[in-house]
């Protein structure tokens, strides 16, 4: 198990911006925190992002033939990534 930093490149490719500082809210338990601090499993089928508090699946990303399929049903809310100047101090 790693953390959200490990998939920052893929998230950046999917969302078009760095998402590590974006705050997600878990649809299972309501815990909030930056995506960088989530639990990440790289060797599930696809990339699996889980809540560090309750272990619910937040996001699944599967890449095939250069296309990304992203399942975000486990996320109750996802904040906009802060702009670089504002993002330095979460």
């Amino acid at each position: 198990m790693l953390d959200g930093n490990a998939i920052a490149g893929t998230l950046s490719a999917v969302f078009g911006a760095d998402m590590t500082l974006a705050v997600s809210t878990c649809g299972g338990c309501g815990a909030r925190g930056p995506l960088a601090e989530t639990a990440v499993y790289l060797h599930a089928p696809g990339l699996v992002v889980r809540c560090r508090t309750c272990d619910s699946v937040l996001v699944v990303v599967v890449e095939r033939d250069g296309r990304y399929c992203v399942d975000v049903r486990g996320v109750a809310g996802l904040g906009e990534p802060p702009r670089p100047a504002a993002g330095r101090r979460p």
């Binding site: 790693l2 930093n5 920052a8 490719a13 760095d18 960088a36 993002g87």
Partner: protein, 240 residues
Amino acid sequence: MNWSIATVVDVLAETDRTVSIVLEVPGWPGHRAGQHVDVRLTAEDGYQAQRSYSIASAPDDDTLVLTVERLDDGEVSSYLAGELRAADELELRGPIGGYFVWDGSLGGPLMLIGGGSGIVPLRAMLRHRIAQSSTVPVRLLYSARTRADLIYHDELVAAAREPGIDVRYTLTRDQPEGWDGYDRRVDLELIRDAVWPPADRPLVYVCGPTAFVEVAADALVSLGHEPGRIRTERFGPTGR
């Protein structure tokens, strides 16, 4: 973010298991200390493998450097830290990440805690702090198995002579005779001893294998450090 082709300028041995790869990347936009890149290898049959590696150089350095540890069954690292040679090309994308980064505007005191090759992004922060002539107090706690496993040892010894920089080591497996550093795995007592007290509100960066990071971060929180001032990055055989 697009993939681009980097050219290897040099490959430097750091320890028995780690190399620093000096890269030339056309159009490189610059990076912040602590960021990483994704590296992608493609086999002749089209099979691709991708890993993330921290940037070891400071934003102020002239070249982009990655330091890579060769893992026993690492399909990417065994190539990068075994077969890669100058003039080879690598596919990479970056710089990546906005969370595990430090620059002078974030202030300090700056506490860096690294386990094994988790030292790499912390070294970029330390070099940046020095290159910027920042006066932010820095303390580095660096855990490795043996002295021979310490990456950048000479550089860290030199850095520790600068005012405001304190470097402490723990060797968990084997200590040379006369060793005056710590001699065990990072635990609560070691964190209490080596880290500024919570009242000093250090900004703490912890990087290393997952288990190392969990122990250090849990110890920091239980000692009363603010979770919002602790930033973590986990390395692993499946990632970095």
